[in-house]
């Protein structure tokens, strides 16, 4: 657990959802809600000025929606990680948001523990959030057949394990190599796929036919 709390920005057009999330997250000593935004434009503004570590972003918001806001937030220098918050599991917007670089998604109906854990997981960025649900979501779209970057067999293997939600340490154990080696492979995969993080790497890797889910 880091010494300084994780700074969270909550963006949702429903005040009662914002206040609920704030209560839940603020109750954790290691999390701190630093701001609330009522729409996408405000979320981008506050992300710039407050420099949060994680933005909990409602996908469907009036005006600038969560998808567009995610894109804009991720273009900021040293951007925060974006956790997409959604009412419905099978929302095409969620996958779009993950494709443009959101680090994970969370259902609004999830319990408090799950919400807290999701924010922590995304903040740390060491493993995938809800690999199962992510897999179902990604599978709902057809994959492209062309334009796959050339990964080495080892890199593909690593990406496959990342897609299963494994941390670097777990992958190292599974492949009987050092954690450093795994880290190098993951970094190489992210670079080749031009992915921001593990989530985006899995989404893009699946779409390019590099990972089977």
């Amino acid at each position: 657990m880091p010494d300084t709390p994780v700074r969270v920005l909550v963006a949702d057009d429903e005040p009662l959802v914002r206040s609920g999330l704030r209560l839940i997250l603020d109750a954790e000593p290691d999390l701190q809600v630093v701001g609330e935004a009522g729409d996408g434009a405000q979320a981008v503004e506050l992300a710039r000025s407050l420099r949060p570590d994680v933005v909990c972003m409602d996908v469907r918001m009036p005006g600038v929606d969560g998808l567009r806001a995610t894109e804009l937030v991720l273009r900021l220098p040293d951007p925060p990680r974006v956790l997409v918050v959604t009412t419905f599991e099978h929302d095409g917007y969620v996958l779009d948001a993950l494709t443009v670089g959101a680090s994970g998604f969370l259902l609004k109906r999830a319990g408090a523990d799950e919400m807290v854990q999701a924010v922590r997981t995304v903040a740390v960025g060491q493993s995938l959030l809800y690999p199962e649900a992510l897999r179902d979501l990604i599978r709902s779209r057809p994959r492209a057949t062309t334009g796959a970057p050339a990964l080495t067999p080892r890199e593909r293997e690593v990406l496959g394990l990342v897609a299963q939600g494994m941390t670097n340490a777990e992958i190292a154990t599974a492949l009987v190599v050092g954690v450093e080696t795994v880290r190098t492979h993951v970094a190489s995969v992210l670079a080749k796929l031009q992915a921001r993080d593990r989530t985006q790497a899995v989404v893009l890797g699946y779409r390019a036919g590099l990972v089977d889910l």
Partner: protein
């Protein structure tokens, strides 16, 4: 074999019954027409009798109830599987088709009856004369008047012709019945117009399902989301921060209660739709919305003029738009008087909300960005309407138009329209009343 034979007998019996029904009515009609013509015009040529009878048959087909009788007869006696319709409100096309069908039924029945009861005896008679080689007569007149055959070949041909004719008359009910059965669906079934109306009705139903799904998603889905998030929050902090937990409980209570009200209204709409009569109680509902906002401190002047016969979902959409617009005015507007106008003309329902905006607030920022306007736009778009909002000096103006089929005129709906306006005015004048 036995079963097939029994089936065939029943089949023919039903076809025969159908023809006899036509023959009985046809014969009655012929006799009626014959006697009427005889009384009024003396002896008439047989073609005139035929024409007059045909006209009478057409007239009979136009009598209310003829369609029902023919449809029942066709289903029961012709085994018609096609869809047959008895329109509650028959159009000319239905009447004409019914009349043609009745005339055809009577003609077909008379033909079969004539073959059986006149044709066959005549054929037998001719055959017997030919075999006997002697013309049969009663008193001075011949029965047939045909010359006798003058040789064996002629005799054989005559006998074969008689047998063939008798056989044809005997079985005529079969092909004629089959033809009637095949044609019933086309004549007594739905007209192209009916089919189009059915398709349109289905499309309307589907559009309403979409709207209802949206209502559910927006209203109940949203409320349940808020409830689950607030409940999670309340449970989380109940020990450390009981006040916050109590607030969460209050929010849950409010949200659940208003969601139940919404569900109530939605179900009322569904029930109304099931009745297909949709006298949605929009005026009182809007009155409630208006008074709720006044209670919450909005200085609201309302002019509400509603048409009657507003489809339930449209009425509900009007209510939601007004609610959203007033909520927006409340949340984002500056203090000051807010004007609500709901009116209607030939094109549909018009809604206008005017509220003051804070000096210096950037035009087009907050108020337009609220959930309100995009929600309103989507709602209105479902009905093919338009919504626009913008700043005009110190005012923010929202206008929405919801087209609907030509509404009944105000004369017929006077009570209701004035009732709604009066009600709104009452509330306006009672504004200082602490309860209003």
């Amino acid at each position: 074999m036995q079963a097939t034979k029994r089936y065939l007998m029943r089949y023919l019996a039903r076809r025969f019954a159908w023809h006899m029904l036509g023959a009985a009515i046809g014969l009655a009609l012929v006799l009626l027409v014959y006697s009427l013509l005889n009384i009024s015009a003396g002896m008439v040529p047989s073609w005139a009798l035929a024409v007059a009878t045909f006209a009478a048959a057409i007239g009979l087909g136009l009598v209310p109830g003829a369609r029902e009788l023919e449809v029942t007869a066709a289903r029961a006696l012709l085994d018609v599987d096609d869809e047959l319709v008895v329109p509650a409100d028959p159009r000319p096309a239905h009447r004409i088709r019914t009349a043609v069908w009745v005339a055809g039924h009577l003609a077909s029945g008379l033909l079969v009856a004539a073959g059986l009861f006149a044709g066959i005896p005549m054929a037998v008679l001719i055959g017997v004369e030919a075999l006997a080689g002697e013309s049969l007569r009663s008193g001075d007149s011949f029965y047939t008047g045909l010359p006798l055959p003058d040789g064996p070949v002629s005799l054989a041909l005559r006998l074969i012709a008689c047998a063939a004719f008798a056989l044809l008359a005997l079985v005529a009910t079969w092909p004629l019945g089959a033809a009637a059965s095949a044609l019933a669906g086309r004549v007594l079934g739905p007209t192209p117009h009916d089919r189009m109306e059915t398709a349109l009705a289905r499309a309307r139903r589907e559009a309403e399902h979409t709207r209802l799904a949206r209502e559910l998603h927006d209203g109940i889905g949203h409320a349940l989301t808020v409830v689950s998030v607030q409940a999670a929050a309340g449970r989380r902090v109940v020990a450390a921060n009981p006040e916050a937990a109590a607030e969460a409980l209050a929010a849950i209570e409010d949200t659940a209660r208003s969601a139940l009200t919404e569900l109530d209204q939605l179900l009322a709409v569904l029930r109304d739709d099931a009745d297909d009569e949709a006298p949605v109680a929009l005026a009182p509902a809007l009155g409630d919305v208006v008074s709720a906002h006044r209670r919450a401190g909005l200085d609201l002047a309302a002019r509400i003029d509603l048409p009657e016969g507003l489809p339930a979902l449209l009425g509900r959409t009007v209510q939601r738009i007004v609610t959203e617009a007033l909520t927006n005015a409340h949340r984002h507007g500056a203090p000051g008087p807010v004007g609500l106008t709901v009116g209607h003309d030939d094109d549909g329902v018009r809604i206008e909300v005017v509220n003051p905006v804070r000096a210096g607030s950037r035009p087009g920022r907050r108020p337009s960005g609220g959930r309100g306007l995009s929600g309103i736009r989507e709602r209105v778009a479902l009905f093919g309407g338009t919504a626009e909002a913008g700043r005009d000096g110190d005012s923010w103006i929202l206008r929405a138009t919801l087209p609907c089929a030509p509404l009944r005129t105000a004369e017929r709906t006077g009570d209701r329209v004035h009732g709604a306006t009066d009600r709104a005015t009452d509330r306006t004048t009672n504004r200082k009343d602490p309860d209003a």
